[in-house]
Subunit: 179 residues, 2 copies
């Protein structure tokens, strides 16, 4: 999905600045299934403005840098709906972690153990974050989407705690057999 549609989607939930959009995409309730950085968001906002899909007004809080608050135009709203009816592409999932575990027998025990422990810690952090996100979710849609993230993270955590030790044992055995 492109950043332009993402901006439209975020602005549907309320007007926002480029800074805020990036924050929602990087840390907010969109963050677990979307990615976008300043370098793509600001140009996208400029382009959407030129196309008439969004507009901005300036808010000058004295002493602070001027904020450009963007909001959807009716045309933008229509464009968003059109995007929602577009058949979604398959989810993208990329994992360096799984790539590394694939070749677990090339990693020494201590490091493998650390790798799994770190991942568990990371996922627990994610889970906590998603749960607070879930509580603040206001629409059924966002509860569904965040709940999806919670479910997958829990499943990953379960898999790691149950299968992780087995993996370590199996690679140990494999190496002793090879000696």
């Amino acid at each position: 999905m492109n950043v332009r549609t993402l901006c439209l989607g975020i602005l549907y939930f309320g007007e926002a600045t480029g800074y805020e959009i990036r924050k929602l995409a990087a840390e907010g309730c969109f963050s677990h299934f979307i990615e976008a950085s300043y370098g793509s968001i600001y140009p996208a906002l400029t382009k959407l403005t030129l196309e008439g899909l969004i507009v901005w007004r300036e808010e000058a809080t004295p002493g602070k840098p001027a904020r450009k608050i963007y909001s959807l135009t009716p045309e933008g709203h229509t464009a968003l709906i059109a995007a929602l009816y577009e058949p979604p592409r398959g989810d993208v999932f990329k994992s360096e972690f799984l790539f590394q575990t694939m070749a677990a027998e090339l990693i020494d025990d201590d490091h493998l153990q650390q790798l799994l422990a770190d991942r568990i810690a990371l996922l627990e952090e994610d889970l906590a974050h998603l749960c607070t996100e879930c509580e603040t979710a206001e629409s059924p849609g966002s509860r569904f989407a965040v709940g999806y993230g919670v479910a997958l993270t829990r499943a990953a955590l379960d898999h790691l705690t149950i299968e992780g030790p087995k993996l370590i044992a199996a690679t140990q055995k494999q190496r002793t057999a090879a000696e």
Copy 2:
């Protein structure tokens, strides 16, 4: 992760042609957490050869196009191990589907229903594919990685079957309330 390391990883499990590498990355046991197409694989193989991390020999089956069968050199093996000790970056998960469900109230009931049904069908297909993949997995590492995929797909499927109908009901209610 870059395609170069991916090639190294795949070749660790056995020599292969560029065509076969792409197939493993797109359909094989690497496919659920990695992506790569011809346009990135062939250049990567050329570069890795120049760097001495892999070598190829030509196999001329009469009548068929000549195959370049690549395999790891000791240097390539070392480079792979180095990559395995590199701290893995966080997993990337991108989903247009979840983006669409976020704004479920903008989609009419029939289409939303269809969207969820399609996704369930897709995930069931994925799950079946992963399960056959799991059976053919030969190393503990690949069983772990594929098992991870199975666990997440099951969790997604569960979430859809349980929360999907709730989402539809909630958006319906929301719309009737708006009238």
